[in-house]
Homo-oligomer: 339 residues x 2
């Protein structure tokens, strides 16, 4: 294949981690990345070179470029964790094939990108590019966390930021497996759509009498798992209103305001716990055959229409600095980058 | 044996739980218990009647009488969870013997008390009454929590309120098993005594440069277990300064000021956790032979001088309302009640 030596990409402007905390909101890309002509990366052992068709823009990407993700930035490398494209180089039988990939050593917000060969996902032809671009981070996080809810044995679980793409995936899983998602959202406007997707119940945090409404909800459903991407005081209030042995599982931090733990004795007398979920840890600690099965199930769900990625915008690499922040700030759906 | 029908005891004035949170501080007993002549309780099946020699006054007793412990109050019953005395009635071969006991159905702050027969602990003759009165709550909590630190595999652990009786027991266990306790205390005055007991290091939270000092301490020792009876912002700061996979284990709540979780992403990227420890849960979930072994080890530690209960005061039942709060407020040692 004819591979150029130069490409365009969004290069990181900083090394390492930020000194101060930051949220996953995005108002301006310019402090973090710049559009640049850069060398097309060379695949070393175990790596493939991908010609990127579409790259995802996830909250974890935003945390990463800001220096507050659990992985150190490398200045001058392209940003972007995942995407879909064609394998154009590397020691793999998938050469020439369409895959989803997780970037390593150079990011997906570029025309070409490196990815570990064992994690390349050959795609079913019936899978849309829009779904393939985000096949790893959100779907695998949803399925791994849903497993936690399933293993808990309760017949419902709580999900905050439930209107997000990940929240909608969790609602779908809950519906299909009879373990109802209790969808927590800020505004009434989304409630109907989430009920239609299969949420067992919807809790709107805006408005009167939240405490009474959530007490009532939890008396009916008695959920013990809280899957939380927000991390604010409402998340803490949900947790403390849940029954014995509740687990608050934090996987994102959309809120800038840290919560206060007002009911500390619940850790002792109600055996409650706070913990985190990180897909990178899950991938390290899960056997490859299990990961493979989860990926196959995710593809099947998209192909069969059980899941659907709602794309807000597909932004050209050339226009990303100008257009990405506004597109990304439209809540609850997904932005892609097209080289 | 000649058992009277009436006795003196400190009877609970309230049923159930308190409506508002409260700490384990004690300024006045009068809102919670009163000295009263009451019926000597009758032992039903599985229960023994104990003539109380000495009863312990633990933070859990204070939380209980205030209605903020994990067990509901029963109005007009005597308070008090544990003590030592002689078995005077009940279907047990221990009749007439000196035992340590955990009260059930009527409390130990009285001349007579009921206790479950399977949990009666026959005492070695060389065990002092002062140690026997508090043989269950603090020693078993210390040994069970020390097991958590031992299983963690690190070579040190952090203990707050380290000058407390329980803190001192943990320091002694750490010293004898080569897993050093990092003793956190408020004031420098106690530091020397805790070093002498075998603390691997002492952190005084009063004074300049706490953040630097704790960062340095944790760089040297890298502890992953925080055994915490305080639950204030300093506890949270310790937790967030600890390395990856740190577990904040809350077993008491001395502080009235709830902590704020300023570094939420650590749950995700550093796999940190908050959980609780409650002896009542541990007793329910631990096989009886293991509990028996732990109790035997606790007795041996006292008898061999590896542990020593420092008694501040032994207050007469008649004088408890007047004298107990002041005696109890002398930090870091133990108050007993003598009928």
């Amino acid at each position: 294949m004819d591979i150029p030596t130069k490409m365009k990409g969004l290069a990181l402007l900083e090394d390492g981690y930020a000194n101060a905390p930051a949220t996953q909101e995005l108002t301006n890309l310019a402090p973090y990345v710049e559009l640049r002509e850069m060398d097309v990366p060379q695949p070393g052992p175990g790596l493939a070179l991908i010609k990127v068709a579409r790259a995802a823009v996830n909250p974890s990407d935003i945390a990463f470029i800001k220096g507050v993700y659990g992985q150190s930035r490398v200045k001058d490398q392209a940003a972007g964790f995942e995407g879909t494209g064609t394998v154009v180089a590397g020691d793999t039988p998938l050469l020439g094939q369409r895959v989803s990939f997780f970037a390593a050593g150079s990011g997906s917000w570029a025309e070409y990108c490196l990815a570990p060969i064992p994690m390349l996902i050959p795609l079913r032809p019936d899978l849309r590019d829009e779904d393939a671009a985000g096949l790893i981070v959100n779907p695998l996080t949803a399925m791994a966390m849903f497993d936690i809810a399933r293993e808990d044995g309760a017949d419902s679980f709580v999900v905050t930021a439930a209107g997000s793409q990940l929240g909608k995936f969790l609602i779908g899983l809950g519906k299909d497996h009879g373990i109802g998602a209790l969808a927590v959202i800020r505004r009434e406007a989304q409630a109907e759509a989430l009920r239609a997707l299969g949420a067992a119940d919807v809790l709107v945090t805006e408005g009167e009498g939240l405490e009474e409404r959530l007490t009532e909800l939890f008396e009916v459903h008695a959920p013990r798992i809280l899957l939380d991407a927000v991390g604010d005081q409402i998340s803490a209030d949900l947790f403390f209103a849940m029954p014995e042995r509740a687990r608050w599982i934090i996987y994102g931090r959309l809120s800038p305001t840290p919560p206060t733990l007002a009911q500390l004795p619940q850790f002792i007398f109600k055996q409650k716990q706070i913990e985190g979920f990180w897909l990178a840890s899950w991938l390290r600690n899960t056997p490859p055959e299990k990961i493979g099965a989860v990926i196959a199930e995710a593809q099947a769900r998209f192909a069969e229409g059980k899941w659907h990625t709602d794309i807000t915008a597909s932004v050209r690499l050339d226009n990303a600095l100008a257009e990405l922040p506004a597109a990304y700030s439209q809540k609850d759906s997904k932005v892609l980058i097209e080289p």
